[in-house]
Symmetry: C3
Subunit: 204 residues, 3 copies
C-alpha cells in the first residue's frame, strides 16, 4: 500500500514533466496526455517488455494510468501554475527516479535475471520514461546530452541493490537506503550544479 502510494507519486511527477514538455512544444490535448503518459509510464513499460512481464503493469493497473492522466489534465488546464512550481516538480522527479531505478532493479532480480542485467533494467526504468518523452517531442533525450548528473545516481542506486542481492544480504533497509542515495545525489547535483563529464574536444 505504501509502495503503491510511492509509485503513484513517481508516475505523477514524471507525468507532470511530460505534460509540461508537450505544452512547451505547443502540442494539442492528445499530445499533452500522451507525453504525460509516456514520461510517467514509459520507463516501466520498457522494463516489463525487456523482462517479459507483459502486458506491462503500467498499462494494466488502472491506478497508474489514472495518475498519469490526472497529471496530464492538470498540466493541460493549469500549465502556467504547474510551471511556477517547477522546483517542486524537480524534487518529485528526483524521488521518482530513485523509486523507479530501485524498484525496477528489484523486479528484474525477482524474475531471475543476473545482477548486471537487473542494473541495466533498473536504470532504464528510471530514465526511460524521460527519454521516450523527449524522443516523442522531437528532441534527443536530455539524459544523454545535458550533463545533468541524472543517470549516474540511478546507476549507483541500482548497483547497490544488485550487489546486495548477489551477496545475499537483501534487506528493506538497503532498498530504502538505495532510494535515498539516488534522491540525495540527484538533489545535490541540482543544487550544486554538479555536471557529468563530457568528452574533451578533439585536438585539431
Amino acid at each position: 500500500m505504501a509502495l503503491l502510494a510511492l509509485d503513484l507519486v513517481g508516475v505523477f511527477a514524471f507525468a507532470l514533466s511530460g505534460g509540461l514538455a508537450a505544452v512547451r512544444k505547443r502540442f494539442d490535448v492528445v499530445g499533452v496526455l500522451v507525453l504525460a503518459a509516456a514520461a510517467g509510464l514509459g520507463g516501466g513499460i520498457l522494463r516489463d517488455v525487456l523482462i517479459g512481464a507483459v502486458p506491462p503493469v503500467n498499462i494494466s493497473d488502472w491506478r497508474l494510468l489514472a495518475a498519469a492522466t490526472a497529471a496530464g489534465l492538470l498540466t493541460f488546464f493549469f500549465h502556467p501554475r504547474v510551471s511556477r512550481i517547477q522546483q517542486l516538480v524537480l524534487v518529485l522527479d528526483a524521488v521518482g527516479l530513485g523509486l523507479f531505478a530501485v524498484a525496477g532493479t528489484l523486479k528484474a532480480l525477482e524474475l531471475g535475471t543476473t545482477p548486471h542485467t537487473a542494473v541495466v533494467v533498473g536504470v532504464l526504468t528510471g530514465v526511460g520514461g524521460g527519454a521516450i518523452r523527449d524522443l516523442l517531442a522531437g528532441e534527443p533525450p536530455r539524459v544523454l546530452a545535458h550533463r545533468e548528473l541524472y543517470a549516474i545516481p540511478a546507476v549507483l542506486g541500482a548497483s547497490v541493490v544488485a550487489v546486495a542481492w548477489w551477496a545475499g544480504v537483501a534487506h528493506p533497509a538497503i532498498t530504502w537506503g538505495s532510494v535515498a542515495l539516488v534522491v540525495t545525489l540527484r538533489l545535490l547535483a541540482l543544487w550544486r550544479n554538479w555536471q557529468a563529464p563530457a568528452p574533451r574536444p578533439p585536438l585539431g
Copy 2:
C-alpha cells in the same frame, strides 16, 4: 476472409502514407520501403509486443508484409500519381484507423487483458504506425502535435468495444458500429476541419 481483406486495406493505406513521407524526405529505396512497412505494420507490432503475442503477426503473415511492400514499391515508382490521389489515401487511412483501433482492442480483450488496458492497446494499434513513421522520418508524431482529431475518434471507438465486452454484450454489430463510428468521426473531422483543443497560452 473478409477480415483479412479489410486488414490488408488498412495496412496498404497506412503504408502508402509511410512511403509518401519517405519520398518527401528524399529517402532512398530502403527508406521508402521501411517507412511504408513501419506505417503499415508498426501499430500491430507494438500491440503484439505489449500483449506478448510474439513474433508479431505483422511480421509472420506474409500477406501483410506483401501489402506493405507493394504499397512501398508503388510509392517509389509512381509517387507523383499517389500524391495526386491524396484524398483517397486519407479516406483509406481513416478506414485503417477504425479497423486497427477496434481489432487491436478486441485482440487484447481476447488475450485476457482488462478493458482499460485493451483501450490503450487498441488506440496504440491505430495510431502507433503513423507515430513510428514520423519518428523514423525525424519528426515529432503528427498525432501529438497537429490538432487533427485523429487519436480521439480511435479512443471513442476502442472504448465502445471495451465497455460492451465488459458489460457482456459483445456482438458483431457493436464491433462494426465502432469501426463505423471511428471512420465517420475521422472523415467529419477532415471535412469540417474539426480540431483537437490545445493548451491556452501562458498568461505572461
Copy 3:
C-alpha cells in the same frame, strides 16, 4: 567460442560508431556510453523482443555488455584517435553487419519462425542498432536516408540463409558464405561508392 569472439567484434565495432556519434553531438559521458551500447546491442535487443527471447541476451550476457562499454570508454577518452581509424571502424562495421544479419536470421529460424519472418528479424538485427543510435542522437536513421547500400546487402545475406533453411540444405558453408556475401557487398559499396536508388523527383 569462435562465434562469441565474432559477436564481440561486431558489438565492439558497432559500439565505436555509437560512441563517435555521441561525441560529434557533444553528448556527455552518459550519452557516449548509452549510444555505444545502443548501437552495439540495440539490434540484438530488438531481435529478441520481437521473437520473445527475453531478457535479451545482449543485456544478460555480461561479455557483450562489457564489449560495448569498453568501446564507449575508448571513444570517450580517445575519440580523436578513434576518428583517425575511421576506415578500420567501417570495415569492422561491415563485418558486424554480416554477422548480425546472418546470426539474427538463424536465431529466428531456430525459434520456429517462417523464413520470411526470419529475414525481417535478421535484417533488423543487422541495421537496428545503428537506427536506434541515430534516433537517440536526434537524427533520422542513416540506413533510410543516405543511399549507402547498407540494408540491401543484409537483405541478400539473410535471404540466402532463410532460403537454404527452407530448402533443407542449411550448412555452415552456407552460413559463412552468406556472412562473406554481406561483408563483401558492403565493402564494395563503400569502395566503389555504390548507391541505393532514390525516388525520381516529381514532375512538377
